[in-house]
């Protein structure tokens, strides 16, 4: 077994085991904290398909994260009130339905944003995705129907068949299951023909184009897939907090998602999980010590980027061999 695979396995098992140990010790809040890690990791797994695999540095994934969150919030609020939505759709409080809706909504938004943004590359792409996310953000703030800046409360978490999602432990297991599924999907994608084409486009666009493959559809597909996974994470995040607000769409959120990937290790399968774990623990631990925690978080990030480029997984597993 390769060293990185072993580390990946240990990491997953630790993530799964921590809540059970915490529960046994009566530390219920730790379960919530680990759930947060799992959900943020899921969002970053989504972003990693565009960023790590496709080399598309999207600085606007908060737009999809928030779209997913709002899908969950809006469906739940209609399920609660019983009023039909636009175009006569019914609300729903069933997680599978909510996830599907979140993925479809983000798919449509990302198709539109991607179609324009992917015409550009490099720095242009970074700034355009940022600007589009800002546009969605301002729209959410000023649109009065679903709470605007005040956001939207979900009093009870959406339901999953056979599970009481209001119990922290059971909700964690649902999130962990989705994260596992996304990791498996992401691993399969890497080794698939599509994944190979995507990486080829990242490494040498001209060569790929010269053998008759058009890079645009490949990139767009990766971008949309990435957005859809991030949106499901957004829906779960809304359920975790029982609340959605435009702050899920803010550019700080986009920045944090990128931070998770870099902290964990760019291009690594489990990078997002390691990064999310480190980030949440740092935020919680530093926040407990000092009001100035953002200052120290900034310093830690800076040092990671400058001197520890491989992130956590890079430190543990050594350099990645580029194929």
């Amino acid at each position: 077994m390769k060293r990185e695979n072993a580390i990946n396995l240990v990491l997953l098992l630790a993530l799964l085991a921590t809540p059970f140990i915490a529960q046994a010790m009566g530390e219920t809040f730790t379960v919530t904290l680990v759930t947060r890690i799992a959900i943020l990791a899921l969002a970053a797994v989504g972003l990693n398909i565009a960023l790590g695999l496709g080399g598309l540095v999207s600085f606007g994934h908060a737009a999809f994260f928030g779209t997913g969150g709002y899908a969950a919030g809006i469906l739940a609020s209609h399920a609660m009130s019983g009023e039909p939505m636009l175009f006569g759709f019914e609300g729903s409080n069933q997680m599978p339905v909510v996830w599907l809706a979140a993925a479809i909504a983000a798919g449509i938004v990302s198709l539109a944003i991607g179609a324009i943004s992917l015409r550009t590359s490099g720095v242009y792409f970074i700034m355009i995705t940022l600007a589009f996310a800002q546009m969605v953000y301002y729209f959410a703030i000023s649109w009065p129907a679903y709470g605007g800046e005040d956001g939207l409360s979900i009093v009870l978490r959406n339901a999953f068949p056979g599970v009481n999602t209001m119990r922290p432990m059971e909700f964690f297991l649902v999130c962990f299951g989705v994260l596992l599924a996304a990791l498996i999907f992401s691993a399969l994608l890497r080794s698939s023909r599509f994944g190979a084409a995507l990486q080829a486009v990242r490494q040498n666009e001209v060569r790929v184009a010269s053998i008759g493959i058009s890079p645009m559809p490949i990139r767009l597909t990766a971008f949309v897939l990435s957005a859809m996974i991030t949106a499901v994470a957004g829906a779960l995040y809304a359920d975790l907090n029982r609340f959605v607000s435009p702050s899920m769409l803010s550019w700080h959120m986009s920045g944090e998602l990128i931070v998770l990937i870099i902290l964990g290790g760019t291009g690594r399968l489990m990078g997002p999980v390691a990064g999310a774990a480190l980030f949440v623990v740092l935020e919680f631990w530093l926040g407990g010590i000092t009001e100035r925690w953002q200052f120290f978080l900034g310093l830690i990030l800076l040092v990671t980027v400058l001197f520890a480029r491989g992130g956590v997984i890079g430190l543990l597993a050594g350099k990645e061999r580029h194929g």
């Binding site: 530390e27 219920t28 809040f29 730790t30 919530t32 904290l33 947060r36 301002y138 703030i141 000023s142 009065p144 709470g147 605007g148 800046e149 005040d150 956001g151 409360s153 009093v155 922290p168 995040y237 907090n241 029982r242 609340f243 607000s245 702050s247 899920m248 926040g287 009001e291 100035r292 953002q294």
Partner: protein
């Protein structure tokens, strides 16, 4: 024997009351201590802690955490305080959107919430909750007062607020009492910092006065730019637009501005005469309205804790709703929806020994409640 019995009963009753006193109360104070809105959170915390300190009550523990003005962080902290720190009461949130994120979950878990500032309409009417108290006001109150004032003085008003729910509530509250003509109704972008376009519209509108609700940095920017514009139309607003935390940054441009408030530092009552110097002595600056509201929230909790055990939520909230405190605001009691009934005044910005501050001009409303209480059936 008789004496002995008497003594026994006495110790028993004493014991019972001191038992209630001695019941430890754990309070979770979530407020904004970092980021652009930290000024309000710092005042909230300091006002709250002043009351706790003055009481000398050793059985009260307060845990303070910073929400960085992020709703999801506030929810996370609330969950932590409830699940891990096992607090009995939550308080301290400044912003309506954060409050809306935290309160439904907290009261659903059986915790009491006492708001020190934010008071969205959504929690005052139909969706009110027996465990949710507001020690500040209802969001619409100060806007309503300015509507009432404008009604008496002006015929044609230009009104403006940021394009978010509190902004819409603001203009709705104003229009609930103002019956004159509206020159224009403008919604600005949240966080906007340049108001040249809007000032030009005010100039061209021919209004008698402009009612402007722009809290925090937005209001500072607007007032400074307005003063430079050469427009002579007077600006009025709710108290937040000219509260103590923003006045130094606006500078003399604020002089003479009329606003509404349920408190000012020169309000003539015994509690206020004690509070203002005490706050200044402790922290070396003038208190803002946020400090007063938090001070009262702490007083309310202290008063209830001296009469009932916090573990008996029903008894405790019954005591809370009696509002047996000496508020620096003067008269203070709770309405049926557990929001305040209080007097609201017209204030004017003046210079007092070189420091800008608000001075009471006249009373606008006496014993003013809110428009939503009638819908609160719980």
């Amino acid at each position: 024997m008789k004496t002995f019995l008497k003594a026994a009963t006495l110790t028993l009753t004493l014991g019972a009351s001191s038992l209630a006193m001695a019941e430890p109360v754990k309070i979770g104070l979530i407020t904004t201590l970092s980021g652009g809105g930290a000024g309000l959170g710092v005042d909230t915390r300091d006002g709250f802690m002043l009351a706790i300190k003055q009481s000398g009550n050793k059985d009260i523990t307060v845990i303070t955490e910073d929400d960085a003005q992020k709703p999801e962080l506030a929810v996370q902290i609330a969950d932590k305080m409830i699940q891990s720190d096992k607090v009995d009461i939550l308080t301290g949130i400044v912003w309506s959107n954060l409050l809306m994120a935290v309160v439904p979950g907290a009261v659903a878990q059986g915790k009491i919430y006492v708001s020190t500032n934010a008071a969205p309409a959504a929690l005052a009417g139909e969706k009110c909750d027996p465990l949710y108290f507001n020690a500040a006001y209802q969001n619409d109150n100060l806007h309503e007062a300015m509507g009432e004032y404008a009604n008496k003085v002006y015929k044609k008003m230009f009104i403006m607020a940021p394009n978010y729910p509190a902004g819409k509530d603001s203009l709705t509250g104003f229009k609930r009492y103002y019956k004159g003509e509206l020159a224009n109704e403008v919604y600005t972008k949240v966080g906007q910092t340049d108001y040249a376009a809007e000032i030009a519209q005010i100039r061209a509108s021919g209004a008698d006065a402009a009612f402007v609700f722009l809290p925090g940095g937005m209001g500072i920017a607007f007032m400074k730019q307005y003063a430079q514009s050469g427009v002579k139309i007077p600006v009025i607003g709710p108290g937040f637009s000219f509260s103590q935390d923003v006045l130094p940054a606006i500078g003399d441009a604020a002089l003479g501005a009329k606003a509404s408030g349920q408190w000012a530092k020169d309000l003539d009552n015994a509690a206020n005469k004690k509070f203002v110097p005490a706050f200044q002595a402790e922290y070396g600056r003038l208190p803002s309205i946020y400090a007063v509201q938090a001070y009262d929230a702490a007083q309310l909790i202290l008063a209830a804790a001296s009469k009932a055990s916090v573990k008996d939520v029903k008894a405790f909230t019954t005591e809370l709703s009696k509002a047996d405190i000496q508020s620096p605001r003067g008269k203070f009691k709770f309405n049926t929806n557990r929001h305040p009934i209080q007097d609201i005044y017209l204030t004017e910005v003046v210079k007092d020994n070189g420091t800008l501050t608000n001075k009471i001009v006249e009373k606008i409303f006496t014993d003013h409640g809110d428009a939503y209480a009638k819908d609160c059936k719980k």
